[in-house]
Amino acid sequence: MPTLPELKTRLLPMGALPHEDARMITGPQNIPFAQSSSSEQVPPPYHFPGVTVNAFVWPVNIDRVQTYCDQTFNLGTEEERGFVYRPAPFWPYATLLFLEYPIMISSNPLPQDIGEVPYSDRGIISQTEVFVALPVIRYGTNPVTMVTETSLEWALPFIVVGNPMSSVCGREMLGLGKLLADIETGVGWYPNSFEGSIKLPGWPNLEPGTQMRDMEFVHVRTNPVLPTFRTSQSPKQSLSTLFESREASFAIEEAASLSNFVADASLGMIPTNMRTVGLKQYRDAVHTDRAVYQSIVTCRARYSNLDKFKMYDEEDVQIEFSDRGSFNEILQVFLDVGPTPSNESFRVKPIAGYRFEADIDYDQMRVIHSFPIDREDGLPPIPAQSDLDANWARSIKGFFGPLRHPMRNAE
């Protein structure tokens, strides 16, 4: 009588290697989610028309980005994963984005069978979201996957929202570690300027027994958008003048083409297709240092109808993060703060600040890699599974090798 692994090997298609079998869907499947009456989670994809985006860019320490990639995405060995995340060498910057969503609706065309009224007809959520985006590249680790599975993605090591429902959906469905915050945005002291701030729950110091409280995490102030006479320097010194130069614009476009990611991001300035990547994981209830589920999830934020692009004079943009108490741990990911809180403001000097309006569609949610899960109580381990094809290669997948992960993702 053959054992199950032996039987599986015998049933493999001619020419297929045993390890390919391990990359088909295995482990628990078709587990129904018990919909609670009080649950407010909203099904993706989502449509967000008329979003106002204020963005600020500053140089980032590449070593910190690599550390974040290693701690968050490059788990296990490279051989097991088949990919490695690294910082995008052509865009060594972090971008802080304030997004004001006047309307957030589910655009899921499929019946969800979980209520009388389809989610897209239930109403509108409006909220503000703030995140720090770091461009990272996922490289395939062999000559074929280096071509077909290399992809530009955006890691969001810090993301906060003002709506509880959005934070829960982000954390539990999409693998984005959304924290709930009080976010204020609006016009600053001058007309056509911007001012935004975030208050987060945190601990003002790390002494035992210290009570959590809401503290300001970051505050951003700008002068009016350019052109304006309210600048502290000659506007000709601003980055915006770069875009007025034909030669410089050409050089930028060339650099973007060379990077081969021009369709994904215009040098990171104005995203058109921003594929986010996050680690979706849940703790074991008893052994809280263990994960019962761990996967890398990507989603596409597709920007369209871009309008009203305006730049701020970066010299007049003030960004102050609070390096106080528990916030130090957050800042260590993307700022050059020390290992302990300085209890002072950490000022960032941006190289660009701009705003624009756009419609954003958030779709193409994919589990691109599930990490193996070891389990107790006699339960069988769940092996790793991957669906790593780059977006452009998905329409011709199969050409480079056998199809994998056929049913897990939506397409």
Binding site: Q29, P32, A34, T72, T288, V292, V297
Partner: protein
């Protein structure tokens, strides 16, 4: 072992949790058996796709508890037992108010031959709110209770005595494509805490309430009581959705947390008929009110509207109370102060194997 990757956004408050000097208010509500059993059938007794080797059965006495607890010193003791993989040193203590709807049920173990044996009393919490996002994430992602974020105010005054509790959450009054989510009222409670009552008198008024209170008392330890072990096991359904399919879970398991109420002092009982408890109807809350409390509202129906005594803000946030008000009778109320320990004892069943 698959190591959980901790970072600041997933550094939840790891159990065990301890609340020192928590102020508790409990309101016993009478509900139909079908409302108690319905949640058990949809969350614990059904196949998903495999059936857990347990059967959950509601007691015949038709009561549950609406519990509101004000925690001024709520902290994690996880770091005292092992190297902390959650919040760092000093990042353990917070204050919050939570509210939940809970009731005891019978959990039977079921043999492969479908024989029920080994009956145990456990609690379930079908509905819960918390006004601290940090502990809300911890409850959902570790403990397994589906807690919703809420704005909660609890005002306890003396001379004259007054207890006033308001709960509000982000939601939609009615479901239409143009409705806008905003902060809407969920619940309002008003009572005079200085008008106490005798427990025996109250128990005689309501059939089955004495048995229900017996279960309740077995789970709390009065200060000075020789028996210091008063654990009450809670069973939760911990589940997380697939990334794009709302109907599929990537993880679903029955978790067995437990709570221990000790050093219980200042126990006072109140005549439930003296308590004003109003749920505010909205389409966001409609299913919960129907499923858990058998409270209904027809859009063309004539009901009382709004917050009694006028609209109130919570934490400086404007709350929309212009909603139909559904009164729910309270059979008995009680207040007490206690130390509470929350812990997780195990995973009873993991689905999908």
């Amino acid at each position: 072992m698959t190591r959980f990757v901790p970072n600041f956004s997933t550094n939840e408050l790891l159990p065990p949790w301890v609340s020192i000097g928590a102020r508790n208010w409990v309101f016993a509500l009478k509900v139909k058996h079908k409302n108690l059993q319905g949640y058990l059938d949809s969350h614990f007794n059904c196949g998903a796709p495999d059936v857990a080797p347990f059967y959950y059965e509601a007691f015949e006495y038709p009561y549950g508890l609406l519990r509101v607890t004000k925690h001024d010193n709520f902290s994690s003791r996880h770091g005292e037992q092992s190297d902390s993989l959650g919040a760092g040193p000093g990042m353990h203590t917070l204050s919050k108010i939570d509210m939940n709807w809970a009731y005891p049920v019978q959990r039977w173990r079921v043999s492969p031959d479908n024989f029920r044996y080994d009956r145990q009393v456990v609690w379930v919490e079908p509905m819960a709110f918390d006004n601290n996002s940090y502990s809300m994430f911890s409850s959902r992602e570790i403990w397994g209770t589906e807690v919703d974020m809420a704005r909660i105010s609890l005002v306890e005054e003396t001379h004259p005595g007054r207890l006033h509790i308001d709960v509000a959450m982000q939601g939609l009054q009615t479901f239409t494509p143009k409705s806008i989510s905003h902060l809407i009222g969920v619940l309002h409670i008003e009572m005079d805490p200085e008008v106490s009552s005798d427990l025996l008198t109250e128990l005689e008024k309501h059939p089955g309430l004495a048995e229900f209170m017996g279960v309740l008392f077995s789970s709390i330890g009065l200060k000075g009581s020789p028996n210091t072990i008063h654990n009450s096991e809670v069973n939760t359904l911990k589940q997380f959705r697939d990334v794009f399919n709302m109907q599929v879970a990537v993880y679903r398991a029955i978790i067995a947390p437990r709570t221990n109420q000790s050093n219980v002092t200042d126990m006072v009982f109140y005549d439930g008929s003296k308590v004003e408890l109003d749920f505010m109807w909205s389409q966001t809350m409609a299913e919960a009110l129907n499923d858990f409390f058998d409270l209904h509202y027809q859009l063309d129906g004539k009901r009382s509207m709004g917050h009694p005594g006028g609209a109130d803000d919570i934490d400086g946030n404007k709350v929309d109370w212009s909603l139909p008000r559904l009164r729910k009778d309270v059979v008995l109320a009680a207040s007490f102060t206690s130390d509470i320990t929350y812990d997780v004892t195990g995973t009873l069943h993991t689905y999908g194997n």
